[in-house]
């Protein structure tokens, strides 16, 4: 059933009793052309694009828990593409291109809201670094503009631009095409659209092993629901990627850390954009529901507990209150943690692996949500063609051997 104001109206008159299942939970078939491990936005999206763009419909997405329950449903939904390096700008901008129009493509309102992402500069080094980004973005055709201190205030009236002793606002980099989306809707929208064109989504079915033939190629996955055959397997398991890759005998340059986030109680609109401050380590936006959505930092140790420490939240809120003293009386409603898989250069690994038929999409660290449609599309392309698209080709595993890293964080190195 197509979603529209009309169908909503028609169904209202019949008491909403006739809506079909959005994504039927399937029992696994014996064999698929492609199995995708992990039903987050990335995995579901890859299945959708495989079926929709590349004509491979005999696809299963296998999920240990419930779909969208990992980092897709735990992140702070910031979407932007104003990255420095050509490779990063290309991959994230590809994603933003797809975000634009995703609701219509999926016939599911993912609530992508181009409200702008404002990154604040607090010291001379920030200014230099942002200018470098802005100039690179301009020549790459990526939207990003410098706002003076006064322009920042005009754009975000609640911003305190006074001459504070710590972290005064010296200006900011604004990407207007950037914004937020509703995380759950992205997973659900892809799941529904993929289901409708024949993809099987199998939840509550942990993968316990990856089977390989004598010549090394993958032949299928062992799961809680038995062995499922497939000659192409893609792992898109975020924080658990290393665990799944180990099942195929691969060791990966990944470490998984707890990342916390929190929301406030809902209030009427007060924060019209996303604000990020790398120097202060804070980022904040307001959801359509009215909650202030705040991203905190990672804990220092690796963990799969989906649990973080209080002092991380204290530090985050101290930063938020310093930037926005009007929010001191706001109250934290809910906090939680996800597991982020981080590579040595903090850029993703998206492409083929040394094992035939095994593909990987991991290492997005704290920034995977914004890449959802782009990564999904590129993963699907790579699976379909058995070779990477030129956009994701640089994000290969070999870069760690040769040393051609894509290190955005290093490029933002702190001067002295």
């Amino acid at each position: 059933m197509k979603f529209s104001a009309r169908s909503l109206f028609a169904n209202a008159l019949t008491g909403h009793k006739n809506w079909p299942e959005q994504f039927p939970d399937k029992e696994p078939e014996k064999q698929y052309d492609v199995i995708i491990v992990g039903a987050g936005g990335h995995g579901l999206g890859a299945a959708y694009y495989l079926a929709k763009k590349y004509g491979i419909r005999n696809v299963a997405v296998i999920e240990k828990g419930w779909l969208g329950g990992g980092n897709t449903g735990r992140n702070t939904t910031v979407i932007r593409s104003n990255y420095l390096y050509d490779e990063s700008a290309a991959i994230y901008d590809h994603s933003v291109d797809l975000w634009d129009g995703l609701s219509q493509e999926l016939n599911y309102n993912t609530m992508f809201s181009k409200r702008g992402v404002l990154m604040l500069a607090h010291n001379i080094h920030d200014v230099q670094s942002f200018q470098r980004h802005i100039h690179a973005n301009r020549l790459n055709g990526v939207d990003n503009q410098w706002l003076s201190r006064e322009d920042c205030k005009a754009f975000l009236p609640i911003l305190d631009i006074s001459e504070r002793p710590h972290y005064p606002v010296l200006g900011g980099a604004l990407q207007m095409r950037a914004g937020t989306a509703r995380h759950d809707s992205v997973a659900w929208g892809y799941a529904r659209a993929a289901s409708q064109i024949g993809v099987d989504i199998i939840q509550n079915c942990a993968v316990t092993g990856i089977r390989r033939s004598k010549d090394g190629a993958v032949t299928g996955v062992e799961t809680e629901k038995g062995f499922i055959k497939a000659n192409k397997i893609a792992v898109s398991a975020a924080g658990h990627s290393a665990v799944v890759m180990a099942m195929a005998g691969l060791r990966f340059p990944l470490e998984s850390y707890p990342l916390q986030a929190l929301v406030s109680e809902p209030v009427k609109p007060v924060m019209p954009c996303v604000v990020m401050s790398n120097a202060v380590h804070a980022y904040i936006s307001q959801s359509d529901k009215g909650e202030l959505v705040i991203g905190a930092g990672t804990d220092q140790y690796t963990s799969y507990s989906q649990r973080g420490a209080l002092h991380i939240l204290e530090h985050t809120l101290m930063s938020i209150c310093e930037l926005f003293p009007i929010f001191k009386r706001m109250r934290m409603l809910r906090s939680w943690a996800g597991i982020v898989d981080v590579t040595p250069d903090r850029s993703p690994i998206l492409g083929k692996t040394p094992i035939e038929g095994l593909y990987v999409n991991c290492g997005w660290g704290t920034g995977g949500f914004k890449a959802t449609p782009g990564a999904a599309d590129l993963l699907a392309y790579t699976i379909a063609h058995d070779e990477p698209h030129k956009i994701n080709a640089p994000f290969n595993l070999d870069r760690f051997t040769g040393g051609r890293l894509i290190d955005e964080a290093a490029a933002a190195a702190v001067a002295h």
């Binding site: 329950g69 934290m332 040393g403």
Partner: protein
């Protein structure tokens, strides 16, 4: 009911002072000890708010922190407005001002209520299905509209003037909850030598005891027993009592966060007094005695003001002397509601009917009701409720005969059973298990040294709670208790109604307006996991986090998905237990206390001499010293010129310093730096380059060899801590056999850099024990001696290209030596300069700044510093990585100088470089400008850049496309000034 008294619904006055307060602009009377909710109820006001989605009128559901409906904006003046405060926990004081929320223009006339009229079009998840066309409308029309309808209260608009405190605490036993179980545990623990902390979110100790009039403990009335107990606990030296304190989260290894509210209840809460305090407690043992929360019944119309939990009405009656109505009906499936009905009856309230969902109840209850003349209707349900702003009648439905009956009432109590509070228990990752007997989850296996006692353990009843509390704290206390039995109940996953389900509005999550229908819709649409149901319906995601709704939702969902409740499970409990003020979590760390700001011993002089400062990592450094109205450009030009022609003085104290000492010091240096150290003579210095193991430049600095076994290492200002860690890590983990000690000495030395042809002349008269002659003390040498009679390590080094000395003196002599040098320098026209001039001077010489000209992706070769990398050393950190295929490949970005074709153009730092400026976007960028300045010395601009294959481009022209214009520049050697280094010997 009498209307001439100020509180027509007040049955007994507690003897406390009468006070006035304002709600929505109208002034009312209340009594000290009231909450806003109890005071409004005493005035007969039930309508306190509007729901989130449908803007339906709402009154209180509960009487404490579980309240989902009665949320108000608490206003104590500019910057002190708190939205979304529960009226049930807001303590009344004389003059309190509160306003209702989520309504416009007024609580009764709310335009947003049309959402309710059209609610059939807004079922759960409606927003996913529409608002997609036309595409451009989402950002401009739909979303702004949705956002303005959503949200609850208004965010504060002024900075909060209040301050917040935070503290750490340690104890042996932390007891959360001061109801009967918690108090009994505290009493038992107080008799041991344990340090005990007892916390409760309420202003008074007692928990459920405060609502139970009729019980007695050990022959004493509840009031007397509470008084005795509190006295005993307050006298016990090992017990700390924290009231108005909520245990908000349970973290690793028995680390519990407590939020204490200090001033919100005070009429004269002064600014400057801490408003809240965050306690972070590490306790050996944690006893959770958090009680249980009553569940609503889910039936059509259950959200009208005047319909509330039976326990809430009992609390308003027994604790606040307030009747929630004078004609109060009851609808229940649990025995406990009878107690509330009887208390109300006995206080003079008419209870027209108890509507019992079960088919049978205990004879005792039946007899007690009969004795009071209260009618009980078994196997019945409420099928409808009437009234606009408050219930005025209900419809009773008996499915057995299909009959309905209208009963007048001005309040309706409901009870669907009890939910043990497992929030903190679950935060700790302890397990929970389903208990069929009480139809609820109870604690399973503990993951920490923790126990649940009393109602939160599923053990209901006063005596049970007291004795369990005593036992868990090591006591063997027995209690003689007279109490109304807690009884038992039955859970109905759906209640009978003759109406079509689609015509019913039976609320599960009151604040978020999620109904039974929404759960069914979610399941119908394939959202079978309880986490999906939660996210799709938003049940449990309101500000009460589902305290009253989660278990009902799970049970309704279990029917819809045809699974057992155990299989369906609960959604994860997420901290905090109740919403917690950002300010409390931020603590005192704001404004000047936000972060440490480090200052050198010379900083105060700079401040007195009008320096303009800049933050450099966490240091404050002087950027330039303007003369009068000079701007930065003019000041820097003057500072540079003075330094090049005569003498400049610069505070370099922020440089990191590490003393490396031991027989293997040189060996260690050889491993940590790219350069060779073994042959560096004592008394000589060398520029050291440090790599990470991946081969990229990590840090740099001048190193002096003070003795065979002693090096004085300097690091960049921001790099000092990480370099120290890097060194310690390698020393302890990889090279433990080396006999070396590392000591951070950054704070020990003040460093005064003197640069310029007159530098030697300036210091000569004041130096003892060092031969300053150029032959005896060449460039890149270090000597120990005295200056002004003070011990010094004197370096002859230069970051400006001029003759330079760095005077290291013990930090506390820093300012004195600086002043003495400055005074003596007057004859040479000495000029203090800041970091900006320092940057220009070094750029003129092509010296890099790690972090500006390198960015974590630059190797020594890339930076043109292969000369600093020993070819002979077998090993150093980062060596192997320099041989990797992509590191030795062609086309890497290399550090070069740039001279703009127009000498007056100063390129922007960060500007991108292209070979072909006419290409279309996206352009192929070959590098970027890392440093760029106006050089007064050279009378033109200079710049440094990293450019792909840059070393081979010398003399070639590259382009810098800027908005509206393109600059061209020639690639050159980055040493712009004095390439042969002759200036080092001038003076």
């Amino acid at each position: 009911m009498t209307t001439d008294q100020p509180n027509p619904y007040r049955l007994s006055d507690s003897g406390t002072r009468q006070i006035s307060f304002t709600f929505d602009g109208k002034t009312y009377q209340g009594r000290e000890g009231d909450t806003l909710a109890s005071a409004l109820l005493a005035n007969g006001v039930h309508l306190m708010g509007r729901s989130f989605k449908y803007h339906r009128p709402r009154g209180v559901l509960g009487s404490g922190s579980e309240e989902p409906n009665a949320l108000v904006s608490f206003d104590r003046g500019a910057g002190r407005v708190t939205p979304n405060v529960r009226a049930t926990t807001l303590e009344l004081y004389d003059g309190l001002v509160a306003n209702s929320q989520n309504r416009w223009p007024s609580l009764k006339r709310d335009v947003g209520a049309f959402n309710n009229t059209f609610s059939m079009f807004f079922p759960a998840g409606f927003y996913n299905k529409t608002f997609m066309w036309p595409r451009s409308f989402w950002d401009k029309v739909y979303e702004p509209f949705i956002r303005s309808m959503a949200g609850l209260g208004l965010a504060p608009t002024k900075p909060d003037p209040d301050v917040y405190a935070s503290t750490y605490g340690h104890c042996d036993t932390l007891i959360v909850g001061a109801g009967p179980a918690g108090l009994a545990a505290a009493l038992a623990a107080s008799k041991t030598d344990n340090r005990v902390i007892l916390v409760d979110e309420n202003p008074a100790l007692g928990g459920s005891l405060l609502s139970s009039e009729k019980a007695s403990i050990d022959g004493a009335s509840i009031t007397d027993w509470l008084a005795q107990t509190e006295q005993a606990l307050r006298q016990a030296k090992n017990v700390t009592i924290l009231t108005r304190t909520t245990a908000i989260g349970y973290y690793h290894d028995n680390f519990i966060a407590l939020a204490e509210r200090l001033t919100d209840h005070l009429a004269d809460a002064e600014i400057g007094q801490s408003r809240e305090r965050l306690h972070r407690i590490r306790s050996d043992k944690v006893i959770l005695a958090q009680g249980a929360i009553e569940r609503p019944l889910v039936f059509h119309g259950n959200d009208l003001p005047g319909i509330m939990l039976a326990s809430a009405a009992q609390t308003f009656l027994n604790r606040y002397g307030t009747a929630v109505g004078y004609e109060v009906a009851v609808f229940t499936s649990h025995d406990s509601a009878y107690g509330a009905a009887f208390d109300l009856h006995d206080a003079g309230v008419h209870v027209p009917v108890i509507i019992e969902a079960r088919t049978d109840i205990d004879a005792d209850l039946r007899d007690s009701a009969a004795a009071r003349g209260i009618e009980i209707v078994l196997a019945a349900a409420v099928s409808n409720c009437f009234g606009k702003w408050r219930i005025n009648a209900l419809e009773l439905y008996t499915p057995i005969n299909g009959k309905t009956r209208r009963i007048k009432c001005d309040a309706l109590l409901m009870c669907g059973g009890w939910t043990p509070s497992l929030h903190l228990w679950s935060h700790s990752k302890s397990s929970i298990k389903w208990d069929d007997k009480i139809d609820a989850f109870v604690p399973g296996k503990a993951n920490e040294n923790a126990s649940c006692v009393g109602a939160c353990n599923g053990d209901f009843g006063l005596q049970t709670a007291l004795e369990a509390g005593g036992r868990v704290a090591g006591g063997e206390a027995t209690y003689t208790v007279s109490e109304v039995p807690f009884g038992r109940g039955e859970t109905f996953r759906s209640l009978p109604n003759y109406k079509d389900v689609s015509k019913q509005k039976a609320f599960v999550d009151f604040q978020n307006d999620a109904t039974e229908k929404d759960i069914s819709l979610a399941v119908r649409e394939g959202f079978s996991s309880i986490e999906h149901v939660k996210r799709y319906t938003t049940i449990g995601m309101a500000t009460d986090q589902g305290k009253t709704s989660n278990l009902n939702a799970m049970q309704i969902a279990s029917v819809a998905v045809k699974k057992s409740v155990q299989e369906v499970g609960l959604t994860t409990f997420r901290p905090p237990y109740t919403p917690t003020t950002f300010g409390a979590l931020a603590g005192y760390r704001s404004g000047d206390l936000f972060e440490v700001e480090r200052k050198t011993s010379i900083d105060s002089w700079a401040a007195e001499n009008d320096a303009v400062f800049e933050p450099v990592s966490i240091w404050r450094r002087a950027r330039y010293f303007p003369n009068g109205s000079e701007d930065m450009h003019a000041a820097v030009a003057r500072e540079c010129k003075a330094t090049r022609t005569s003498l400049g003085i610069f505070d370099a104290s922020t440089l990191g310093k590490i003393e490396i000492v031991g027989p293997d010091a040189a060996k260690f240096m050889n491993l940590m730096y790219t350069n060779p150290w073994a042959k560096l003579a004592v008394g000589r210095c060398r520029y050291g380059l440090m790599l990470r193991e991946d081969g990229y430049i990590y840090d740099d600095g001048v190193v002096g060899r003070m003795a065979e076994d002693r090096f004085h290492v300097t690091t960049t200002t921001g790099g000092a801590p990480r370099v120290f860690r890097h060194m310690e890590d390698y020393l302890q983990s990889e090279f433990p056999e080396l006999d070396v000690w590392l000591t951070s000495t950054t704070e020990q030395w003040a460093v005064i850099a003197l640069n310029g042809p007159n530098a030697r002349k300036l210091i000569a008269p004041f130096i003892d024990g060092i031969d300053l002659s150029p032959d005896a003390f060449p460039h890149m040498a270090v000597r120990e001696g005295k200056i002004f009679g003070i011990e010094t390590r004197l370096f002859r080094v230069s970051f400006s290209g001029e003759l330079g000395f760095e005077v290291n003196v013990p930090a506390h002599y820093g300012r004195a030596v600086w002043e003495a040098l400055f005074e003596a320098g007057a004859e040479y026209g000495i000029v203090p300069y800041g970091t900006e001039a320092m940057h220009v001077l070094r750029a003129e010489k092509g010296f890099i700044i790690v972090g500006q000209d390198t960015d974590g992706t630059v190797t020594p070769q890339d930076a043109g510093m292969s000369w600093a990398v020993s070819k002979k050393k077998k090993d150093f950190v980062g060596k192997r990585s320099l041989m990797r295929s992509d590191i030795v490949a062609n086309g890497r970005r290399q550090l070069v100088g740039l001279l703009t074709v127009d000498p007056n153009v100063v390129l922007e730092e960060g500007a991108q470089i292209v070979a072909d400026p006419d290409q279309p976007i996206p352009m192929d960028m070959i590098g970027h400008v890392t440093s760029s300045y106006w050089s007064e010395t050279l009378g033109r601009s200079i710049a440094m850049a990293v450019v792909k294959g840059g070393f081979d481009l010398e003399g070639k022209t590259i382009f810098v496309p800027m908005p509206g214009t393109t600059h061209s520049a020639k690639v050159c050697n980055p040493v712009f000034y004095d390439p042969d280094g002759e200036r080092l010997n001038v003076g």
